[in-house]
Symmetry: C2
Subunit: 478 residues, 2 copies
């Protein structure tokens, strides 16, 4: 590669953009706030979609598609919802050359349009539950945008379920938070803290919002998925009732949950290094790149023939690519594939052919070893698994190192900027302290943990000194 990337130490934010540009994951578009997801980035998204979609289907969900447009009047039916979302909507006022009678909002999320349909589809308890997911684009007008993390248009999935009882809805909400946590840990190799959002941070229109929070390498938090128990708020707004077994008319309970292309940002910022992108093997569109090395046609034929023999059984086992382009030096190729985050590189030259071996280089830790050609595919499979596990362990260790109990607000104000981290702190539960925290430190309460990072103990609010019964997680966030 001709020019190096900005390093994390130099400028974390520029490093992030450099990694994306060098890996050709995305590009800025001429439309303000919108990005283009390039083929390398989209291939990653496709693998994420496939894994998530399978998990949704395995838990009984089906996909559907609802309109992009939401009539203004629908948005207004749920008071908190419109207050939360209307200010950031894009609005269509003209169509087919004419001014519209009623402006159409472009969906920032689809609760309202979907619940207007559920009203048509739900009459009896036999129609419940409805477990629908949608893969779609949504638009939220953003002033300050950042590739993948915050763009005016983004891709996501949004689940919208309808249930007969409050218990079922709560169970679904928690189930989907756990699906997200499992996906984050098993596929993205990102450890997450599961928790509940504060009243002020919850989804506009929800009774309760569950979330998963991940720590990036700059120790900021990234909200990596949310699952909302909507109670009967949308059923009330759209008058959606059902007849139960006894013939009584009851309001329906709702949940919604979503993750977006922002997760690509989380993967980049959790694993990548100063050389560029690092991808977890389970999500890497190319898992193994083979670089044949030769001088002259005789060597070339011998090496390429060996590569062919070697890989003949590989299709379907893992995704590999042979980079036999002419006119590029091996070192140049190594660099390019490193920037693109390919987990494993195999180098094979004439000497290797003679010795029945190859050189294998791991992207995550740079380890380079000679391995025998015999059983190579098994070695590759095992190494990919090891890389997947090692990435998770490394991220977990980093997260845990930077997850700190704190009791003094003065100390917090210092440490939140340097060294930064996730801070377990006592909070009284009042909005005033939460607001003050954000104003004075730009940190927020990320969640009240409900997993093994939960810390139930008596204490006093770090800000006001009033009693508190458990610690919350405070951090600066993306």
């Amino acid at each position: 590669m001709s020019k190096g990337l900005t390093t994390r130490a130099e400028d974390y934010s520029r490093w992030y953009t450099d990694v994306i540009m060098a890996a050709q994951l995305a590009d800025y578009s001429p439309v303000k706030g919108c990005m283009v997801i390039r083929p390398n980035g989209y291939a990653l998204w496709e693998k994420m979609q496939a894994a998530l979609d399978k998990m949704f289907k395995d838990t009984g969900h089906v996909n559907a598609y609802f309109p992009l447009f939401i009539p203004e009047s629908f948005m207004k039916k749920e008071a908190e919802h419109v207050e939360g979302f209307a200010p950031e909507c894009a609005v269509v006022t003209h169509g087919g050359g004419k001014k519209l009678e009623e402006p159409l909002f472009i969906r920032p999320t689809s609760e309202t349009i979907i619940w207007s349909m559920y009203k048509k589809w739900i009459q009896s308890h036999r129609d419940l539950p409805i477990l629908i997911n949608q893969w779609a684009n949504v638009v939220r007008w953003e002033m300050r945008t950042r590739l993948f993390l915050r763009t005016t248009e983004f891709l996501w999935q949004e689940g919208h379920t309808a249930h007969a009882t409050a218990e079922e809805a709560e169970e679904e909400t928690i189930k989907m938070m756990n699906v997200y946590a499992k996906f984050a840990q098993d596929f993205m190799a990102i450890p997450v803290i599961r928790g509940i959002k504060t009243e002020q941070e919850k989804f506009a229109g929800a009774v309760r919002t569950y979330c998963i929070e991940a720590m990036m390498q700059d120790k900021r938090a990234l909200q990596a998925g949310t699952s909302h128990n909507l109670g009967q708020n949308f059923a009330k707004a759209f008058d959606v009732t059902f007849q139960d077994e006894n013939g009584d008319l009851k309001l329906v309970y709702a949940t919604s949950w979503g993750v977006s292309t922002r997760l690509i940002g989380a993967i980049i910022m959790t694993h990548s290094d100063d050389k560029g992108l690092v991808l977890p093997p389970k999500l890497a569109p190319v898992q193994v790149v083979i670089i044949p090395i030769w001088k002259g046609d005789d060597q070339k034929d011998a090496v390429l023939q060996k590569v062919e023999e070697m890989t003949i059984q590989w299709n379907g086992r893992f995704a590999f690519k042979v980079d036999d382009r002419e006119g590029y030096r091996p070192g140049w190729k190594y660099n390019e594939w490193e920037q693109r985050g390919v987990p494993l590189r195999i180098e094979i030259g004439p000497k290797d052919v003679e010795n029945n071996q190859v050189m294998m280089a791991r992207r995550d830790n740079g380890e380079k070893t000679a391995v025998p050609m015999a059983n190579l595919s098994m070695t590759v499979e095992r190494t990919l698994e090891t890389i997947q596990n090692d990435l998770f362990k490394k991220a977990l260790a980093y997260r845990d190192e930077n997850l700190i109990e704190i009791d003094s607000y003065d100390e917090f104000k210092e440490k939140i900027n340097d060294p930064g981290g996730f801070f377990w702190a006592h909070w009284c539960g009042q909005n005033a302290c939460e607001d003050r925290l954000q104003e004075e430190t730009k940190a927020t309460i990320r969640c009240i943990p409900i997993d093994d990072s939960k810390r139930v103990e008596e204490g006093t609010c770090m800000l006001c000194g009033e009693p508190s019964h458990e610690r919350v997680i405070m951090a600066k966030a993306y």
Copy 2:
């Protein structure tokens, strides 16, 4: 089922809507012109997407994602393109609570936004070809809409490729028309005519448009896919040049091609009957439904246990569902699954268990036969294949019966309404005759065939009597 569907003979158009509603493929939304694709319809679309996506990738294409919004100024850069599309665009004038400086069009198709990016990505012949596809929603303001066939918003894929030479672009254009034809025939079981659109019917901004045309059961044509050779029109509009091997600066050549959820309408109208939806097995989300029949708990246990044994090896071979719902009569279930188009039904009762057999009923022709339990999965697989082939043969026979040579305009004017069909007719090549045809008969020139339905022979234009060298296909169309 309680109420029957409208029959095709009674009212073809109402029959079409009834089939969709009974199969729960889609529903009308409260947003004018937009539909909701319900889970049954979306599952079908997912199978179509998977098959098409594989064909695109097997021919070297990759997926990406470009913004929903197109600045007004971009639309105007290609004169024919803006003339063709601007009148049917939805326009965003406000975002984030403010009036926008420049209105944003919602993409009706993405040539302009994509070519503005290709300008950034293409410098050298080494950057070519670019073979990108996008799965996306698009919006075209429609006054008269119809589920799947014509809606304001629809889902589609759009391929956009960039090439160094005119020959390569033409080759790509034809290749993708052939991919569409293969998909139509092999998966949708729909025979199509491949051809070229007239100058007036071609895509706004194209040099030449190739298409595939299918005949519906009411003998109308449905354009089932188009592939455009865009020449250098968009490269000129967006100033996209590359340095060739000799260092000379040249304009890039382009193609674009697309199919949409309208194909679901084509499947419905090609195969379905008065009982409801008929799906080709290769695209049916549920290929086989098993209806266990019992009276009393003892029978129930015996039958369900047999079903379990029978299907234990079926996962991954075909998609099946066991309908063991209580409180519904078998006949009611048969009807429901028939309406949903499931290709094969297996009935199994206590007598069948005793005799080691099941009853198998084909959705396409109603044939019902007793088949032995031994090797049942192979029988099912073979029968699904047979159904797939029979559906195609039946559609082909119907199409060929109604593909008629005609020379007299008077005769044409009569026959186009009754019995209707596709008509091979001579046309002089002039716009005036094409316009007159449409005004007087509402039929259009569907295409100039380039497959074995091509008819090169000297003749005279059916409308004006001037010389013609080959026949074109005329029909009424959706």
